[in-house]
Amino acid sequence: MGEALSKPKSDVLQGTLALLVLKTLARGEMHGYGITLHIQQVSSDVLRVEEGSLYPALHRMEQDGWISAEWGMSENNRRARYYRLTAAGRKQLAEEEKNWSRLTQAVATVLQFAQ
């Protein structure tokens, strides 16, 4: 019972989340809830971010130096923490995009072949 709750998330999902977050922030600074909404909307509800894993991922990325954060006022006058890409984050985004396209190309190739 206890194990299920503390099972770590799979690596692929984690990596994808980072890529999605970085891309989202490339458009400008945003708070956590905003990032969730954006990904959901843009992917037409196909991708729903696990909010339980969003903030740990944000924290991790902040530690790695890809994003930086500061407090600000949201649209409805609430205090929220806004995240933005750093220069290192931009480089990381480019890297991740390259890896992703390589991965998808490889999968596509295998699928064609296996036919």
């Binding site: 956590g32 339980g52 903030y55 924290h59 609430r78 929220a80 923490r81």
Partner: protein, 900 residues
Amino acid sequence: MSLLTRLKGLFQINRVERDLDEELRSHIDMRTQDNVAAGMSSQEARYDAQRRFGNSTLMKEDARAMDIVGWLETTGQDLRYAARMLRKSPGFTSIAVLTIALGIGATTAIFSVVDATLLHPLPYPQPEQLVSVVDDLPGVGAKDVGMSVPEWHDLQRSGIFEYVSPQGFGSVNLTGTSQPTRARFSAVAPNYFALLGGVTPQLGDTFNPEDQTPGFTLEVLISDGLWKRAFAADPGILGKSLRLDNDLYHVVGVMPPGFHDPGRTTEERNTEVWAAAGFAAAPAPPPLRKSHFLRGAIARLKPGLTIAAAQSRLDALVAALQKQFPDDYSPQSAWTVRLVPLKENVVGNVRQSLILMLGAVALVLLIGCVNVANLLLARTSARGREMAVRQALGAARARLMSQLLTEGLLLSLVGGMFGLAILFCTKAFLLQILPDSLPRLNEVSVNWAVLLFALVASLLAGVIFGLGPALHAGRPDLTHKLKQEGRGSTGSGEQARTRRVLVVTEFALSLVLMIAAGLLLRSFWDLLNVRLGFNPQNVIAVRLWLPIPNDPDTDIYKTPAQEAAFLHEILRRCRTLTGVEEVAVGDLAALPLGHGRDDLNPFPLILEGRETPSNQAPLVDASIVTPEYFHLLRTTLLRGRLFTESDNEKAPAVAVINETFARTYWPNADPVGQRLKLPTPGDRSSFAWTTVVGVLADAHTESLAESSVPQMYLSLYQRTAKDLAIFARGQLDGAAIPVELREQVQSVSPELPVFGAQMLNETVSASLSERRFSMEMVGLFAVTALLLAGLGIYGVISYIVSARTHEIGIRIALGAQNRSILHMVLRQGLRLAIAGAAVGLVGALIVSHLMAGLLYGVRPTDPLTFAGVALLLIAVALLACYIPARRAVRVDPLVALRHE
């Protein structure tokens, strides 16, 4: 996040937490708002928003787990929780803390002695360059025969050493102060203090290393102790004159209070007067190459030279010298010179006993740890349900384990601190009970190394007994644990087995300790009760030195006739004292068990008909005594006769030998009437024939452990001796008689110091003081270990009984007799004890072989000791099981059947 931010985070733990909370809250608020806008009720909206986050606590934990902040928080939490748990059961905590405190305190105490004695380098600069130089003649079986002056010069010129200095220890009559007193004296070369290096006197100067005086220089250095004792710390001491053995010297310096000579015994280390000499003029004998009168030498190697390198160069030098002087170095004697690190000189004898004690006390600590582990394990099993519930709620296994480990570490660290506190408080007392003969006692202190040792020992102990419960709690057998239904006292079978193993281990370790103690006790007892061969009861000995002035012509006790006159007067006067029945005088070698190696008079043994050159002859030790000596000490004459008054300077030289001597050198002939050649008194290069007139039974005058040492006695009226002991037998008043003897001696010659009064049976038992100390310590540890083991088995059996209360109740209800219940419980305990004894016997065999060198009169596999101790252990185990057994018998079946 930069390092700075992280560090800032460290100090703002609460703020970080609050920030995260606020961030999450605002996220939830925003979603709630959107949900409401999409049509949900406000309650639903909030639930939905919150649910998406899942376990927010877990998420926060995950997030926090990533940095130092999180780690510190976790540890802090663990510590607080551990402290709370320990406070809740004060009984258990106090027993555990006390056990650990005693264990760590004792171990640290012994370690501090080992550290100061064996681990610290000697307190001189570059101490690894200091060596002692030892001459051996392995060809005739002689070790440490001493050095001659030309050899000393050869060593100095060899380029191997920076300085070489002979070291001669002794004592002198110090007069010119208020009371004539005896002072411990060291004769050295002028470069001695330069050799040791780095010591500045608190007043004045040391010797000039370039001094070339062939005899003694007129300058002496005194110790801080002597300055206070004999000169009342007179600040004008420099330049003051004093007389040593009637020769005039003046003081040029006072050494600082902590300074000690690197000597082998306490007396050597506490030198009070240093005098420098070239050893090439009176009172030294002529500096011939074969005259090995320099008793020992120390040296400082040239910088950069290792002992091994120096030794090989020295061997080459020795070979060259042997070729150059064939008359002085016969090939048979195989003269060698060996270099020994100076530290070995100082601590060599006690190394084995100290290691033994450290081992013993470490064993006690181990047993204590096992005991506490057992207690902790019992507590853990009682908390089995708590752990299971926590795991079910999502606690990670690792967290639980680290929690339990933290508890163990907290316990051990607190115990360690208490132990150190006890050590600090009892430090003064402990230093007092250490035997004086321990070298470097003044260096024993609680320094950083010792504190570090205490810390490491505490941590190790904590890991040892924290690991057990931690490993057990980690088992993911949740359903089983949750169903335990309060039979938490025993926990799983796994745990009970572990605790049984622990108890068996405790017993084994205790057995080892107790057997070691038993063997030491028997050795000691045997030594104490050894048949001495003489009777020390009611005999007092006082020491007396006749002065040895540098110029032999001024010596008033130069010839045996002169000394004989003095001795006769002393004997006559002492006999008049009340209570005194017999008086005799002998040299220091004649004081049974009261003299050291250096007080012996070795003579080369040249027997008639088997004459060998003197530098190849075996050496034998002789004592020089007046005729009354033999009867006073009640030694037994086997053949021939003893000395008489007529054996004086004008009569032929005579000797009395002991059985071993006779057996070794004249196995098939009557020793009485045989002749041997001894150096004439005063001139070691010429010899005179001496006739054996009597044979004594062997006696333990040299060592309690050995009686078969060849001994020879010569008459004080035929050969002078300067270091004397006056023996008096009778109904003596222990307090008054030393003073009375001193008055009698000083009425003959007022400037002679009389000192060192001791009843002879005290001298005999004092020779065992080091052994006694080891034995007492190991015995103390053994008793402690036994108590701990007994407590351990009591604990385990108690728990077994309370676990099986249900079963016992059923048995009683079904009609079982008290006796069978009793037997059942005792059998459990007996099985554990026997298992422990079996393992322990194997361990004890190994250990006793390792300590065989310390035993006397008992074999390391002595069956009596082994069997006796094993039986004692089993008896104690049965006793410890008896209480829980009685409790089992008194179980009320009705209560038990309802007991879950």
